[in-house]
């Protein structure tokens, strides 16, 4: 249960402003792909177009195609809600639902959609998802407690558990560790390595070491200047990007000369 993503000639606009220009990229199933680049280069914006979350912002729209195993996300007949059921997302700051317990947070995707689920199935799903997020042992005795009582790193893993509980094909992560301490970050990075076995993972990160540690392939985005659109500069195996990049600007960025 994992799908590949092919993006063709994608432009992203905020109203009339062109935020990301002409992206072509193919992301393999069961791999970890990292998006790196300086702030404001459009990597998060682009990430959000992969599950149509950018549409939450009024005026945002795209041109081009994003194919999920060949099916265009932007086909007029496609309901964005269906897309998001298949392409899950984890956000920068952990955001468990404050009104729900740990258990209910994991089941949120199922319950909020009013799907009926038997108690034993729900228990099984909760355990499976929390184990998948490496959180089960830490919370199994307090599933009824509020999710907001966990530590930041635990909350983020709870959010990952919540995302995988709806069994998506792809998991998008928008700087999932930027609000976490190093120990929690390590736990999330370990988890990403394990998730690769079942899911296609796309992660936006500011931390180049993190990209080098967790990803198979890396995409470098850059922006020519303020008010200019962000572009995909180079996309290759992570080792290539960090050791022998083709583009000068990629080399400058990964070697810390700017950004």
């Amino acid at each position: 249960m994992s799908k590949r993503i092919d993006v063709k000639d994608l432009n992203v606009y905020y109203s009339k402003f062109l935020a990301v220009e002409d992206v072509n990229i193919s992301i393999e199933a069961r791999s970890v792909t990292a998006f790196i680049g300086p702030s404001g280069c459009g990597k998060s914006t682009f990430l959000r177009t992969l599950n149509r979350m950018h549409e939450v912002i009024p005026g945002a729209h795209v041109e081009g195609e994003v194919l999920l195993d060949g099916d265009d996300l932007y086909d007029p007949a496609v309901d964005p809600v269906t897309v998001r059921g298949q392409v899950g997302m984890v956000f920068q700051r952990p955001n468990p639902f404050p009104t729900m317990s740990i258990r209910d947070n994991v089941l949120a995707g199922v319950k909020l959609n009013n799907k009926r689920i038997s108690r034993s199935d729900a228990d099984a799903l909760v355990e499976k998802s929390l184990r998948g997020a490496n959180l089960w042992n830490e919370v199994k005795d307090r599933l009824g407690r509020p999710g907001s009582g966990l530590s930041g790193g635990q909350q983020q893993r709870l959010c990952i558990a919540r995302a995988i509980a709806v069994s998506p094909q792809v998991i998008l992560m928008d700087e999932p560790c930027s609000a976490l301490d190093p120990i929690s970050t390590l736990a999330i990075e370990d988890l990403i390595n394990e998730l690769k076995a079942d899911y296609t993972v796309v992660i936006v990160t500011h931390n180049m070491q993190q990209a080098a540690r967790v990803s198979d392939k890396t995409a470098f985005f850059n922006i020519a200047g303020t008010g200019k659109p962000g572009k995909l500069i180079e996309y290759a195996d992570t080792t290539t990007i960090f050791n022998k990049p083709l583009q000068k600007s990629t080399e400058d960025y990964v070697s810390g000369r700017f950004g």
Binding site: M89, T99, L112, S148
Partner: protein, 367 residues
């Protein structure tokens, strides 16, 4: 040796400041002088306090001006005025509460709560005054009327207010319509309550013929007053729900309306409930709209859709303005203050409940 010298030398930083006791000297002098003056023009505690306050502020300012300069004097004058303003603002509050307690408590009894004014006439009041028996008649019908009219007003305005707020926060994109709704909701908060009453009266007069007065007409009038309060408070509460929660829900493939109903509203529910309670507290004491829409009744009417109805505020109003017995108005006055006490207790309870709801049911966040 030098330390002994230092002890006697005053700090450069405190030089030229009034010693702490100076202000108390001024206060004492002012009180004594004021007593003398008020004795001259006829003694009265209030007059005495007033004159003493004036003397104290003037004296203290002058003393400060002499010792510490004009800037300091202006500063301390302002301090006295600001403190004085607060004391003056508290006077009516204390006076009102004291009056209501003092005059309302004697009239409170089981019978007052559970009998109506049905059959209570001027003769009844005259008889109880002559024989020294307890005052008969009570506010049962008015309490029942208040509860019914308020309940219906809540039932009408909460769904409308909630949905309108949801529209403004969750669906509105700042277009002309949204701005118009926001603006007119603000304007609506300023509609005089009597105009809201006239509106409901005029509306029902056109629909069901002139002189249509029922509890429900009053509920509609109160709704006009309640809706903007509900909208505003709900709006505020929905706005502080973090966007991250909405996004988290959307990212799980949850539809917008389910996100609103199951995530956004539950997160804000304590604030919303508290806002609704405050809105109820605001309208429960309204008098003018009831006067022009529900008429006046002296017996229990359980049907909000037919017949005139009394509420506590209109009961108070009529008991004061048109006493049941024109020759023995004390009975009516007593009933009015007892009803006022009940009304104030109701409003205060609603306020307390609103605060408790906001505090207790607030979603616990670790951040």
């Amino acid at each position: 040796m030098s330390s002994a010298l230092l002890k006697t030398r005053r700090s450069q930083l405190t030089k030229g400041r009034l010693p702490g006791y100076a202000i108390w000297v001024v206060l004492g002098t002012a009180v004594v002088l004021a007593a003398a003056v008020s004795a001259l023009i006829g003694f009265d505690v209030l007059v005495w306090a007033l004159i003493a306050a004036v003397f104290f502020v003037a004296g203290a300012t002058l003393v400060t001006a002499a010792a510490e300069g004009r800037r300091k004097a202006a500063d301390s004058l302002m301090t006295y005025l600001v403190y004085g303003a607060f004391v003056i603002a508290l006077l009516p509050l204390l006076s009102v509460i004291w009056t209501v307690l003092e005059r309302g408590l004697p009239g409170l009894s089981y019978d007052f709560f559970f009998t109506s004014m049905n059959g209570v006439t001027g003769a009844t009041d005259n008889a109880s005054a002559e024989n020294g028996t307890p005052v008969l008649g009570g506010a049962y019908h008015a309490i029942v009327g208040t509860l019914q009219i308020t309940l219906w007003a809540t039932l009408v305005s909460v769904p409308i207010g909630l949905l309108a707020a949801v529209y403004l926060v969750e669906y509105g994109r700042g277009g002309a319509l949204d701005r118009a709704i926001t603006f007119f909701v603000d304007v609506m908060t300023g509609i005089p309550s009597i105009v809201a009453g006239l509106f409901a009266a005029a509306l029902f007069a056109l629909l069901f013929g002139p002189g249509t007065r029922t509890g429900f007409v009053a509920s509609v009038a109160l709704s006009v007053l309640m809706i903007p309060v509900v909208v505003r408070s709900t709006e505020e509460m929905l706005k502080i729900v973090p966007n991250e929660l909405r996004e988290a829900s959307y990212a799980l493939g949850v539809r917008k309306w389910r996100t609103i109903v199951k995530v956004v509203v539950p997160t804000a529910i304590s604030g919303i409930a508290s806002g609704v309670t405050l809105a109820i507290a605001r309208v429960v004491g309204e008098t003018a709209p009831i006067l022009v829409t529900a008429g006046f009744a002296s017996s229990i009417n359980l049907n909000v859709f037919g017949g005139w109805m009394s509420t506590l505020p209109t009961f108070i109003y009529y008991q004061i303005l048109t006493p049941t017995s024109p020759t023995n108005i004390d009975a009516s006055t007593q009933r009015a203050w007892a009803a006022a006490l009940i009304l104030i207790i109701m409003v205060m309870l609603l306020n307390v409940v609103a605060r408790l709801v906001a505090r207790i049911f607030a979603p616990r966040t670790s951040r």
